[in-house]
């Protein structure tokens, strides 16, 4: 099986099959980052499509100094922020409305499990409450939580993708989790 750099080499030479293989490999991750940030399927689809289209158009500018995935996630983060600007300029089009005082189900679920939710399958209702809580975070905290706690990127990768220092990653993560904990009231 070809690795990323080999696929990029073929894609640069005009082999669309190689680029398609890259899309198949990374589409879920890119889409998932976009969805965690926007909580909207239509918008996530637009963002993810734009990401791969831009990647294709700019393949020649990829200098292979970092991993392809880091470069790809960086474009994804930028595209999420660009989508956010457009959304703020137009209308708020989330897949669900955000209402206050809806986190009681999360708190009671945690209490039911005696404070230990490790390895728990979350119900649709709990998923929805958590997604709504994430949406209430400031953009940079929402992004860092998405990259670390939902997509499980390393501190180093997050620092490269968000163009911030490792120390800032730690501080922002601490603040983001604390805020989210307060929003979820747990």
């Amino acid at each position: 099986m070809l690795d990323d750099l080999q696929l990029i080499k073929f894609a640069k030479a005009g082999k669309l099959e190689a680029f398609e293989a890259l899309i198949i490999k990374y589409k879920n991750k890119v889409y998932s980052i976009a969805f965690s940030f926007t909580a909207n399927h239509s918008e996530s689809d637009d963002i993810a499509q734009n990401v791969f289209f831009k990647v294709y158009l700019n393949l020649n500018s990829f200098e292979e100094k970092s991993a392809f995935s880091t470069w790809l996630y960086r474009i994804t983060v930028n595209e999420c922020y660009n989508g956010l600007k457009k959304r703020k300029n137009n209308i708020l089009s989330l897949d669900f409305e955000i209402n206050d005082g809806e986190t009681s189900s999360v708190k009671s679920m945690i209490e039911d499990k005696n404070g230990n939710i490790e390895d728990s399958m979350l119900s649709q209702e709990i998923q929805l409450q958590v997604r709504k809580a994430v949406l209430k975070l400031p953009d940079k905290y929402r992004m860092i939580i998405t990259l670390r706690d939902i997509e499980e990127l390393s501190y180093e990768e997050i620092a490269q993708v968000m163009k911030i220092s490792n120390d800032k990653v730690k501080v922002w993560l601490f603040r983001a989790r604390s805020k989210l904990k307060n929003i979820l009231n747990i």
């Binding site: 730690k170 989790r177 989210l180």
Partner: protein, 149 residues
């Protein structure tokens, strides 16, 4: 170590980024500080909730849509197509330039042939033949004779 310092380490411990010594200090503190222990449990649960979220996936035709978009973009930038367009433009330009030059020559030559200057040019030609004879040391009569043959 105070509680504030432990709060930052609590977060780092969730990501397994503490060294063994720091980890032991944190665990010792959590065993003695109920407030920090509660805070740590809440942070841990927050992280667990996020990790347990469903990973949303794109629709089945996702890559096809992108490849189609790339193909349509590539078609408009096809090198062969660009070459044909450039060749067509060059051909049209060449025909136009040739037409302009041919038209210009047609009218200018017609004017030249009809003008009085042309008659004078013929006389000059005869005179030049005379000069030619002198230069080549042959008689003018011989040249006329050769021309009449």
């Amino acid at each position: 170590m105070n509680c504030k310092k432990f709060k930052i380490n609590m977060n780092a411990n969730l990501d397994n980024s503490l060294c063994q010594h720091e980890k032991e200090l944190l665990e010792k503190h959590l065993n003695h500080c109920a407030i920090c222990a509660k805070e740590y449990a809440a942070l841990k649960n927050t992280k667990m909730l996020l990790s347990a979220l469903n990973k949303e996936q794109p629709k089945a035709d996702f890559e096809k849509k992108i490849i189609d978009k790339i193909k349509s973009k590539s078609f408009s930038q096809n090198p062969l197509e660009s070459f044909i367009a450039a060749a067509r433009t060059s051909l049209i330009a060449s025909v136009l330039i040739f037409g302009v030059i041919a038209t210009f020559n047609f009218f200018m030559l017609s004017t030249y042939e009809c003008s009085a200057d042309n008659v004078e040019a013929i006389n000059n030609y005869v005179l030049n033949e005379n000069d030619f004879a002198k230069h080549n040391k042959i008689s003018y009569a011989k040249i006329i004779e050769a021309l009449l043959k």
